[in-house]
């Protein structure tokens, strides 16, 4: 292959990772023998980096996120209630507006916290973190336990009965009360526990346990090491990831607090 053919036919796709098989082999062979084209490829990648850097991810403003979740709730209600309303009656907007406000406020605080406590996010996207955060956000306004939640013991029993860890954090020293627990099945079939904690000042913590086989998680030694835990700032939330000594389970804690404060809460508590 000559340089003209490489630049015309291969360069862009090569930089974008779109070549495979024989084409990739030919392109790499040319690059190994041609410093000029190797330089062009490096430039092409630098241009990609510039676009990514200058036009990168913009965080969804908390109030937009809140109103989208509220709109989804409204859509759910419309789907469930098959027109029980009187003709001409307007949609009950007030109900979701009432909780959208505190939800947005919590998110604003979490957002400001990120700015004040800026740390590099883990590179990449981690669906287990995203899923935990989605539930965390949802539970702010609406946490409905689905296991007996009269006492920590009842919750732990329910988890253990489904072959999940019966550990519960005790965040009382930091002012958090246990609200209750949920057991759910994820879309891939695995079971997950969600334990939710709330403080008088409105702060909340979500604790998830699940098995971690086939989940995309950050590398084991990444994040801010904290005892046996790994701390992350991810999409504006603080996440504490722990691998349980028993092997196949992880614990994901989600909090809206700055990392430092959340680490204090964790130190003050115990399983």
């Amino acid at each position: 292959m000559d340089c003209g053919a490489y630049i015309a036919e291969f360069l862009t796709a090569h930089a974008d990772g779109e070549l495979s098989g024989e084409q990739l082999r030919l392109a790499e062979e040319h690059i190994r023998g041609c410093t000029e084209c190797a330089q062009r490829l490096a430039e092409e990648r630098a241009l990609k980096a510039i676009v990514r850097e200058r036009r990168g991810v913009i965080r969804t403003p908390p109030q937009v996120r809140g109103s989208i979740l509220a709109a989804l709730d409204a859509a759910d209600r419309d789907a469930v209630a098959v027109r029980p309303r009187m003709p001409g009656m307007r949609r009950p907007m007030i109900r979701h507006l009432r909780w959208a406000a505190p939800l947005a406020l919590a998110a604003v605080i979490a957002f400001v916290v990120v700015i004040l406590n800026h740390r590099p996010a883990p590179a990449g996207e981690f669906p287990p973190f995203d899923a935990a955060i989605a539930n965390y956000q949802r539970f702010q306004s609406n946490f409905a336990p689905n296991v007996p939640s009269g006492s920590p013991g009842e919750i732990a029993d329910a988890y253990v009965n489904h072959k999940l860890p019966g550990y519960l954090w005790n965040f009382q020293p930091s002012g958090y009360k246990l609200v209750g627990g949920r057991l759910d099945q994820m879309s891939d079939g695995r079971m997950v526990t969600d334990t939710f904690y709330r403080a008088d000042d409105g702060g909340t913590i979500l604790c998830r346990f699940m098995t971690y086989q086939n989940l995309k998680l950050p590398p084991r030694d990444s994040g801010e090491p904290f005892g046996e835990h790994h701390m992350f700032t991810y999409r504006g939330y603080t996440i504490c990831l722990s691998y349980l000594p028993t092997g196949k389970y992880i614990c994901i804690l989600v909090s809206g607090e700055p990392m430092k404060k959340f680490m204090q809460d964790i130190s003050a508590s115990e399983y």
């Binding site: 092409e44 630098a46 036009r55 965080r59 969804t60 996207e125 669906p127 995203d130 759910d184």
Partner: protein, 192 residues
């Protein structure tokens, strides 16, 4: 409604697990298309609601982000009406500065000094070069470099042949390259 015969509650949870993690990606694209945050918010909300309604049409195992972006682009092209509201930020530069504060810049603390951009006049040149790209080239570059979609997925999102995707990426990047050559030489990205 749910393809796996789930209850609506399961459907909602599945949607939150698979679709909502892409909210920031959608918002980012919407801001770039609408060029003001009010319209971007409307566009994202419309997209999410439509995706939720038609979530049973999402093919499990395929790229959910690409599916959502397809809906977003369709909404933008078909249903979207530029609102009569005044644009909150006047010039593109002001707009950039305004959303700069909201941007996630995961690499900024430890980025390679070769590609790190200083707070200088050069930065404005980069902005100008990006803004000067015609929309059809800018869009494919955002889809490939920021949204990290494959050419095949972009072809689906924009409803154009894959060969057109490839030529637009190639052309867009050459235009950018030319515009930035002076800048890049100065920064050592391009040696000449």
């Amino acid at each position: 409604m749910a393809q796996k015969g789930g209850t609506s509650e399961e459907q909602r949870r599945r949607f939150e697990e698979e679709a909502l993690p892409h909210l920031d990606a959608l918002y980012t694209m919407a801001v770039r298309l609408a060029r003001n945050s009010h319209d971007a918010s409307d566009l994202v909300q419309e997209t999410i609601l439509r995706a939720y309604r038609f979530f049973d049409r999402f093919e499990q195992g395929t790229n959910c982000r690409a599916w959502l972006l397809t809906i977003l682009f369709n909404n933008f092209r078909n249903g979207y009406r530029r609102s009569a509201r005044e644009q909150p930020a006047g010039s593109p530069e002001e707009f950039e500065r305004k959303i700069e504060a909201e941007s996630l810049r995961p690499d900024s603390s430890n980025s390679n000094p070769e590609t790190a951009l200083s707070e200088s006049g050069m930065e404005r040149e980069v902005e100008a070069a990006l803004d000067a790209l015609p929309a059809e080239f800018r869009e494919v570059l955002l889809l490939v470099d920021v949204q990290e979609l494959s050419y095949q997925e972009i072809s689906q999102v924009l409803n154009i042949p894959i060969g057109t995707v490839k030529s637009r990426v190639s052309r867009g990047r050459s235009m950018l390259r030319e515009a930035l050559t002076a800048y890049a030489k100065e920064r050592g990205i391009i040696r000449s």
